[in-house]
């Protein structure tokens, strides 16, 4: 059973377009993390959101944590080919244990 549902699973867009990836759950998390993973590598942490309603920006990436701390979104403005990769959300509950979503595979074409 996937506790964290990510959508869409796959996304192919042209350079310059905007996109939003969603991460939804029926469970409450103490925090939610977003990772980016490239082929042959491990995931790399992009951001951690902790407070319900929190918004964090990382250059062209905007992350939001839902008010109820059950869902999150990642918005990329003016996507570039370098943004291509697998985006993973992960919810944190007890201690430092993470529950990962199924991932969104993004391809940005030049």
């Amino acid at each position: 059973t996937q506790l964290l549902e990510q959508s869409p699973q796959f996304l192919s867009i042209q350079e310059g377009e905007n996109l939003t990836v969603y991460c939804n759950s029926s469970s409450v998390f103490s925090s939610l993390q977003w990772y980016r993973q490239e082929p042959g590598e491990g995931p790399v942490l992009l951001v951690t959101v902790v407070t319900g309603g929190e918004v964090k920006k990382l250059k062209r990436l905007t992350f939001q944590f839902g008010d109820a701390r059950k869902d999150s979104s990642l918005h990329i403005t003016a996507a570039q080919p370098g943004d291509t990769g697998l985006y993973l959300c992960a919810g944190q509950r007890a201690g430092n244990m993470l529950t990962f979503g199924g991932g969104t595979r993004l391809m940005v074409k030049p």
Partner: protein, 115 residues
């Protein structure tokens, strides 16, 4: 070391053989985690260590899977009598502690293929 190191990077084995995967965490990190990732999918939690102790082994898929950590450093994940469904990327991560929101640093993984 500078990062989490995993070996081998690739392992091809025959069904029924045992395999041992190694993880060398970042020096000084007391917490170590093993995850499994099927092709292009999310990560499935297997086990974590705080020091040499593994408080929660419930994520291990079956009793063919075991893990140990010695000296608070290197960890090995052993899969006995491998099956084709064990084929996946096995990722190791470490963090300074198991405190909430401690950043996890991942290795590049071991790609296991069971023929």
């Amino acid at each position: 070391g500078a990062g989490v190191s995993q070996s081998p990077s690739n392992k091809v084995t025959e069904k029924g053989k045992d395999v041992e995967l190694r993880c060398d965490p970042i020096s000084g990190h007391t917490a170590l985690y093993w995850y499994r990732q099927s092709l292009g999918q999310g990560l499935e939690f297997l086990i974590y260590f705080q020091g040499n102790s593994a408080p929660d082994k419930s994520g291990l898929p079956s009793d063919r899977f075991s893990a140990e950590r010695t000296g608070g450093s290197v960890s090995t994940l052993t899969i006995q009598r491998t099956q084709q469904e064990d084929s996946a990327v096995y990722l190791c991560a470490s963090s300074g502690s198991v405190a909430t929101n401690e950043k996890l640093f991942f290795g590049s993984g071991t790609q296991l293929s069971v023929l």
